[in-house]
C-alpha cells in the first residue's frame, strides 16, 4: 500500500470523517486510520443534533434521522416538568452509526483511503520535531505511513496531540463519565428531549431521555468527574435513575463514554499537526453537545490542511488562522458556557426546584430562554454577565 500521503487523519468520528471528506474533495491524498472494527460502532453519544449542523455541508439522509424533535422537557428534582417548545428549533436524534458509515463511504468515493482496525500507536517525528508520519498497528502488524500534515481527531482520549507535546489531559472536574442505554418500552411525549436535573441522579451533570425511534430512546447520564468515586461510578447512578423513571425498559444497547466539559484547547496546532473535535476539547461544556463542533472543526481542519499542502512555507500562518477561527466560533463561546456550568452545577436541588416553580408561573407559550434565565439570574445574580455573553455570542 501507498506509504506517502498529503494528509493523515487519526480517528474516524465526525471530525476526522469531515476532514477526510473535505480533503478528498480537493483532490489531495488522504489516509484515515481508525482503531475500531466497524465505522460508527460503538456509538458513544446521546446523538441529539440540529438539522442545520449537517445540512449546511450536505443534505441529511433519511436513514440518519432517528426521531425529529421540536421541544425540550426539563424535569426538576421534585419531578415537576417544565416544557420548552420552540417551533423554530428543528432537531433530531442522529443515527450516528449509519451517519458515520455513510460519511466514510462518501469520503472513500472521493478518493480518501479509510482503514479500520488501524490503531495509531505513535507519531514518527522529524529531526525538527514535526510529524513525519504515524505508526499503525494493523491486525498485529506495525506499519508506518508518512504525510505532510497530520490531523489529530482521536476523540476524548486525545493521545496523538500529547505525542506532539500538547497537554490534553482533562482534570476530574472537566470530564463527565457517562453511561447510556438504548431501550424500548419508552414513550416520550411529543418526541421531546427530556433532561433531568438533580444531585441525586446526576451530581454535576444531568440525565437524559432522547427519542430514538418509535417506543425507543437513548437514556443515559453523566456525572461530573469530581463526584465520581471508587464507591459509586456512573453506572450505579444510571441504575438508580432507571429504577426511578424507567423501570420497565427493555435494553438493546449499553454504552459508556467520557464527555469533555472543559474549555477548548488554546493550542490546536503545532508544527504540521492540527487538532479537531473532542480531541481539541470542543464540546459545549454546559450541555455536552459536540457533534456540530466536531463537524465544523473537521471541515476547517481539512481546509487548512489543503491550503498547507499547497503552500508548505506558510503552514504556520495557515494553522494559526485555523486556531483563531476555532476560538472565534467555538472556544470563545464555550468560555461563558463553562462559567455558567460551574455556577449552575453548584446549585442544590432546592435551588433547582425554586427556580423551576418560578418558571412554571410563566405560561408555556411565553417561556423564552430570556425569561427563564431572568428567573435563574434572580436566584444567582452572578450568572447574569455570563448568561448575557452566552446568548449574545459576545
Amino acid at each position: 500500500m501507498k506509504t506517502n500521503w498529503d494528509v493523515i487523519v487519526v480517528g474516524g468520528g465526525p471530525a476526522g470523517l469531515f476532514a477526510a471528506w473535505e480533503i478528498a474533495k480537493a483532490g489531495k491524498s488522504v489516509l484515515l486510520c481508525d482503531r475500531k472494527r466497524e465505522m460508527g460502532v460503538p456509538v458513544r453519544c446521546a446523538e441529539a443534533c440540529g438539522e442545520e449542523d449537517i445540512n449546511k455541508y450536505l443534505p441529511v439522509e433519511e436513514r440518519w434521522v432517528g426521531a425529529k424533535t421540536h421541544s425540550f422537557i426539563l424535569v426538576l428534582p421534585n419531578g415537576k416538568e417544565i416544557k420548552l417548545s420552540n417551533e423554530k428549533y428543528s432537531g433530531f436524534i442522529l443515527n450516528r452509526d449509519l451517519f458515520e458509515y455513510d460519511m466514510a463511504a462518501k469520503a472513500g468515493e472521493l478518493g480518501a483511503k479509510i482503514m479500520m482496525k488501524a490503531n495509531v500507536i505513535d507519531l514518527i517525528h522529524n529531526d525538527d520535531g514535526s510529524a513525519k508520519g504515524v505508526k499503525v498497528d494493523e491486525n498485529g502488524t506495525i506499519n508506518e505511513y508518512y504525510a505532510s500534515v497530520v490531523i489529530a481527531a482521536d476523540g476524548v482520549e486525545s493521545r496523538i496531540a500529547r505525542k506532539m507535546g500538547i497537554d490534553t489531559t482533562l482534570k476530574a472536574k472537566d470530564i463527565e463519565p457517562c453511561v447510556q442505554v438504548t431501550a424500548s418500552n419508552v414513550n416520550l411525549k411529543e418526541n421531546a428531549l427530556y433532561i433531568y436535573i438533580g444531585t441525586n441522579y446526576a451530581p454535576g451533570g444531568y440525565a437524559w431521555a432522547f427519542p430514538k425511534a418509535n417506543n425507543c430512546a437513548n437514556i443515559g447520564l453523566g456525572i461530573n468527574g469530581k463526584y465520581a468515586s471508587t464507591e459509586k461510578h456512573s453506572k450505579e447512578y444510571l441504575d438508580e435513575f432507571l429504577a426511578t423513571y424507567y423501570p420497565h425498559v427493555s435494553v438493546q444497547k449499553y454504552i459508556t463514554g467520557g464527555v469533555p466539559v472543559s474549555l477548548t484547547l488554546k493550542t490546536l496546532c503545532k508544527e504540521n499537526m492540527l487538532i479537531a473535535g473532542d480531541a481539541g476539547r470542543m464540546v459545549n461544556p454546559l450541555n455536552g453537545g459536540g457533534i456540530c463542533h466536531a463537524i465544523d472543526s473537521g471541515v476547517l481542519a481539512g481546509k487548512a490542511a489543503i491550503e498547507a499542502c499547497e503552500d508548505t512555507l506558510k503552514i504556520e500562518k495557515i494553522f494559526k488562522k485555523y486556531e483563531k477561527e476555532i476560538y472565534k466560533t467555538i472556544g470563545k463561546r464555550h468560555e461563558s458556557q463553562y462559567r455558567i456550568k460551574n455556577l449552575v452545577y453548584q446549585m442544590n436541588d432546592e435551588d433547582y426546584n425554586n427556580i423551576g416553580d418560578e418558571i412554571l408561573k410563566i405560561s408555556e407559550d411565553k417561556r423564552s430562554f430570556f425569561r427563564i434565565f431572568s428567573q435563574v439570574v434572580k436566584h444567582k445574580p452572578e450568572l447574569l454577565i455570563d448568561v448575557v455573553k452566552a446568548f449574545t455570542g459576545i
Partner: protein, 58 residues
C-alpha cells in the same frame, strides 16, 4: 498496580484523565504502562463502569 478488568468497554475516559499518559487502547482492552503509571488512581474513579481496579502488590 492498576488492573483493567474484563468488562472494560474501551471508551477512553481513563485515558483522557491520565496525567502520566500511561494508558492506551488496543482493539479489545485498555493497556496500562506500569512503568509510566504513578498509581494516582484517577482512572479507577473516572471509569463509568468500574472496569479498573487497584491491586496491591505483595
Amino acid at each position: 498496580m492498576i488492573i483493567p478488568l474484563q468488562h472494560c468497554d474501551q471508551c477512553g475516559t481513563c485515558i483522557a484523565v491520565c496525567p502520566a499518559d500511561a494508558l492506551m487502547l488496543s482493539e479489545f482492552k485498555v493497556i496500562v504502562d506500569h512503568e509510566a503509571c504513578t498509581e494516582c488512581g484517577i482512572c479507577v474513579k473516572m471509569c463509568p463502569i468500574a472496569a479498573l481496579e487497584v491491586k496491591n502488590e505483595d
